[in-house]
């Protein structure tokens, strides 16, 4: 166990997994992260990609209560846009996840580790991207 709490960024796939009632391990891992005081960050644009009917997504809404929602602000459009150009990709949510992870030196929890790893590589940053 690390002495200092880690930063963790969830991408949209991680949130979808937390919302999936057929799988128990994502919520168990989410709880363990909180128990160890790790800081879970979720870009608001990523949450918006997943939230559809909050009244019917109790698991997701509960999971988000343990996360800090990070807004997309005026300081993000340039680095995110540059990253999309450098990576040849078009997903603003994924690019914001990568920029946020780089800035906070966080691990990324994702269902598509390859996509996020490609973006982190384009930033010149080596951070773990783990499948939840």
């Amino acid at each position: 166990m690390s002495a200092v709490p880690d930063n963790v960024v969830y991408d949209s796939g991680a949130l979808i997994s937390l919302d999936d009632g057929r799988r128990r391990s994502p919520i168990d891992r989410h709880r363990r992260l909180l128990q160890l005081s790790h800081k879970i960050l979720v870009p608001t644009v990523v949450a918006a990609q997943v939230v559809r009917r909050p009244e019917a997504q109790a698991r997701l809404m509960r999971a988000l209560r343990g996360c800090d929602l990070i807004p997309f602000t005026a300081q993000h459009h340039l680095p995110v846009g540059r990253l999309l150009a450098d990576s040849g990709t078009a997903d603003v949510g994924d690019a914001f996840v990568a920029v946020l992870a780089a800035r906070t030196r966080a691990m990324v929890i994702s269902t598509d580790p390859g996509d996020i790893s490609h973006l982190l590589n384009c930033l010149g940053v080596k951070l773990p991207v783990l499948a939840i």
């Binding site: 963790v8 999971a63 800035r103």
Partner: protein, 104 residues
């Protein structure tokens, strides 16, 4: 309107005190403002953590609590994730400093 300030007498490690003084000098702000911002950030995380754990408990009450084996699996997964992050940060290249500069 600016909120009225209150005085707290706190004791911190010399290394922390030095870091606070350096940060205040770099940002050209008072030591109090650095300490207040750090405390506010930490208190925010305490609240998020408590609310998040309460929310998980609500979920478990509806869907059932995890088995001891499932809890052990989750603990092992998080431990491995932290190890990978620790290794990655230890191997950080200088260029990372350019990317990570600035707040989220």
């Amino acid at each position: 309107m600016t909120e009225k300030k209150s005085v707290l007498n706190v004791t911190v490690a010399e290394s922390v005190a030095g870091a606070v003084r350096r940060e205040a000098a770099i940002r050209n702000v008072t030591i109090s403002s650095v300490v207040e911002a750090a405390l506010a950030e930490q208190l925010k995380w305490y609240q998020i953590r408590a609310d998040g754990l309460a929310a998980v408990e609500e979920e478990y009450r509806e869907a059932g609590h995890p088995t001891a084996e499932a809890e052990a699996d989750a603990a092992a997964w998080v431990e491995e994730a932290s190890r990978q992050l620790s290794d990655a940060l230890a191997d950080e290249q200088p260029r990372t400093a350019d990317v990570v500069d600035g707040a989220a």
